[in-house]
Symmetry: C2
Subunit: 139 residues, 2 copies
DNA sequence: TCAATATTAGTAATGATAATTATTATTGAA
DNA sequence: TTCAATAATAATTATCATTACTAATATTGA
């Protein structure tokens, strides 16, 4: 039996392609909407299942940013994010991984430290302008 | 009309007391369980509503840590957290706020930066020991 | 004392995600 | 090639966390 029985189905291929082509980071629902333009019969469950599978295989990254929905990232290297408090948009943060942070707490807690997540919050270009554009998304 | 019509009901008082007394950071469901020992007839909805109200008033803090559930903190000052990847437990991280981080990205993004969140992940004392104790909670 | 308002318990509704299931597609060995 | 084994799908249902609704109770201040 081959344990390499991962099949790059049309659904998976297109999900991957669309994730690669976006510079922001999409929710499962957003991926579903976008992919549906090319595969109208795909189901939301398939999107969820494959986003999970692909991130399990390390081909994409499941992000744990604030807000109520998970977001997915075509880039798998370690990097940080900026999130808009108004519309929920998430972009990459142009700052290098701060390894010094983990060294700083090493030994100061009972925890075996494995990693860290840094997320900046603020207002994106679009939401920062208009004065009524705040507090749209919950937390 | 007084706009100071916040009433410190027994429910709210006890929720606050219990939050203050814990060193870790509880989910709404955990608060519910603990408070129920003293107020058996309280409802889960009341717990959620009051956790929201109290954090809105700045008396407690609603945390946006990873995992599927929000957590609540009796301390309202700015500080960081460590989260156990196995059991989900969240403790304070003994490290000062890194104001330099926000200065570092200032001007490098289109965002108006308002703040940042830093969360360390790892294994707590209990989960780090036992070899089967990993990957209990999702993400 | 009483009407206005706040809060509650209980329950139903929502939204995000995961599990189930029956069907379709793909593979690799005979 | 053909066919049984396996993988993946679409569609549906279930689950979990959270929020909204509602009718009843409690509190306040005139």
């Amino acid at each position: 039996m081959s344990n390499t029985d991962f099949r790059l189905t049309p659904q998976r291929k297109i999900i991957l392609e669309e994730l690669m082509e976006t510079d922001t980071h999409l929710t499962a629902a957003e991926v579903y909407e976008i992919v549906r333009a090319r595969l109208p019969r795909i189901s939301l469950g398939t999107v969820y299942r494959n986003l999970e599978t692909l991130s399990q295989l390390g081909m994409i990254q499941k992000l744990e940013v604030g807000g109520t929905q998970k977001r997915f990232d075509g880039k798998t290297n370690i990097h940080y994010h900026v999130r808009c408090l108004s519309c929920g948009r998430v972009d990459d943060a142009p700052i290098e991984p701060q390894t010094a942070l983990e060294e700083a707490i090493e030994g100061l807690t009972d925890y075996e430290i494995i990693g860290h997540r840094l997320e900046f919050v603020g207002l994106c270009l679009k939401c920062g302008k208009k004065p009524g554009g705040e507090a749209r998304t919950r937390a």
